[in-house]
Symmetry: C2
Amino acid sequence: MSQQRHGSTPGEAGGVPAFPDLPEATIARLPEYLRALHHLAETGAETVSSEGLAAAAGVNSAKLRKDLSHLGSYGTRGVGYDVALLVAQIEFILGLDENRAVCLVGVGNLGHALAGYAGFASRGFRVVALFDADPNKVGEQINGLNVQHIDDLRRVAAEESITIGVIATPPGTAQMVADALVAAGVTSILNFAPGVLSVPANVDVRKVDLAIELQILSFHEHRKASLTSLPGGRSAAADNQEAVGS
Amino acid sequence: MSQQRHGSTPGEAGGVPAFPDLPEATIARLPEYLRALHHLAETGAETVSSEGLAAAAGVNSAKLRKDLSHLGSYGTRGVGYDVALLVAQIEFILGLDENRAVCLVGVGNLGHALAGYAGFASRGFRVVALFDADPNKVGEQINGLNVQHIDDLRRVAAEESITIGVIATPPGTAQMVADALVAAGVTSILNFAPGVLSVPANVDVRKVDLAIELQILSFHEHRKASLTSLPGGRSAAADNQEAVGS
DNA sequence: AGGCGCTTGTGAAGGCGTGCACAAATCGCG
DNA sequence: CGCGATTTGTGCACGCCTTCACAAGCGCCT
Ligand SMILES: NC(=O)c1ccc[n+]([C@@H]2O[C@H](COP(=O)([O-])OP(=O)(O)OC[C@H]3O[C@@H](n4cnc5c(N)ncnc54)[C@H](O)[C@@H]3O)[C@@H](O)[C@H]2O)c1
Ligand SMILES: NC(=O)c1ccc[n+]([C@@H]2O[C@H](COP(=O)([O-])OP(=O)(O)OC[C@H]3O[C@@H](n4cnc5c(N)ncnc54)[C@H](O)[C@@H]3O)[C@@H](O)[C@H]2O)c1
């Protein structure tokens, strides 16, 4: 999904096994495990079984075990995983202990909501700067942060050691903004503008496109509707439980 | 990813090949092709080669051809694909010609931005209702739509034939809202609240979690940082081009 | 101390997705 | 009318991911 780079292992010299080299599919699930673990920790659980954690994260338990085994897992047979320990492990692997600095470009409709979102801070990130090109927006105060002009991006990024940038500008300017981010030293981009970004090979891009998500859902709606000729009516054959709830 | 259901092919009776039964990976890319095609159509192109379209969509051309071949493709060897025809085909497959009705639950920070987003309407969807539980929000007018109380969901959903619901409420109430949506007949849910939803097997859920996206990026940052001991500096070895730009 | 139940970690198999490489098809031109 | 250039559609091989099934390990209870 999205535009990833990550070839296979580069010809790593024989020394320290610098990094576990986890499968992409696994690292994409770690954040979900982490969220579930935090939730469990709040309820006072000291340990979890792979079954329990898997249910809380919405995955197969075998998959979970294999995922955790990849990072040289700390589990105890017959008991389960130590919640606190696992949280620390995953946070380290994801690099969340570094509390990375993030900047947001484009403080419009969406950007405004993102700038005020508490979920960033609570999950390992600091939004340290907001940028916009509109002179009317520059100077505006949002959630304790000043909106700055996009031309200051390079300077501010250097000052604050920003490595992650979020793009929330109109599609037409997204590539321009991406170029500016890259020039400012950003090496990871989260893009909300529809369209494909072109970036150097050392820069990672992840894309969030709402319309695409809806269109995928629409396809399945279409498919379901075309099967109404079959029996079965609309009985809700619920099969999974263990809702995370609050 | 996310929580999908879609087992393999159910024991379909011998009759009409009701639906192409496309691979999930393919249908996840169709929307991107569609966006690229619309862009091409605006520039006046009548046909595209697989190479051209693939570049515009940011994928391998072989993959694109295989994807299109799955839907009994309309391409001409030696020429390429007819843009208008392909647009119509993909829109039909995705069910976008039905202009599906969508409702949004939770008109807070994020919900407000979503409610005002023009990208829904322009890409095949009608946002026909907004719901919230907060009496202060009910009655508010956003983008020509009235915010209604969540208790009216069932009635309105029936009246407007709503099949897709978007959840933008706090995590603690997301499951409750999902249950309400399902009870109201919604069979596809796009969820912005972190956490796992439990729904009947006939309901599709897709999840958008910003923090997860950032954490995946963070991992790669962490990995990159751990490789600074290697040569290579920061030369930007750009390898892909064909930016979509405006 | 020994046995029993529980849970992890993993070997192996199967399925899915990707990308190469090429045959088949079509167009345009001489 | 035939030929070459071009581009699609796909057979095939490879690798990744998922899932089952089970041996190995751990703690508790007797
Ligand atoms: N609003 C939504 O709910 C929503 C949902 C999904 C995707 N998106 C996408 O997110 C992007 C932003 O949407 P929006 O509704 O917030 O649009 P918007 O027009 O409200 O905001 C865009 C902001 O970007 C700023 N901007 C424009 N060019 C810029 C530049 N070169 N540098 C810095 N800032 C610049 C503008 O001044 C404006 O403040 C769009 O690409 C849209 O397609 C929006
Ligand atoms: N704000 C963001 O940028 C952002 C980004 C990513 C994810 N999210 C997630 O999206 C969700 C909403 O975020 P937000 O910032 O808009 O929160 P918010 O608190 O601003 O808005 C939540 C809204 O939901 C309404 N609500 C609460 N319970 C309800 C119920 N049972 N039925 C109907 N409406 C109900 C509230 O009245 C409120 O208007 C959260 O789960 C958040 O984690 C937000």
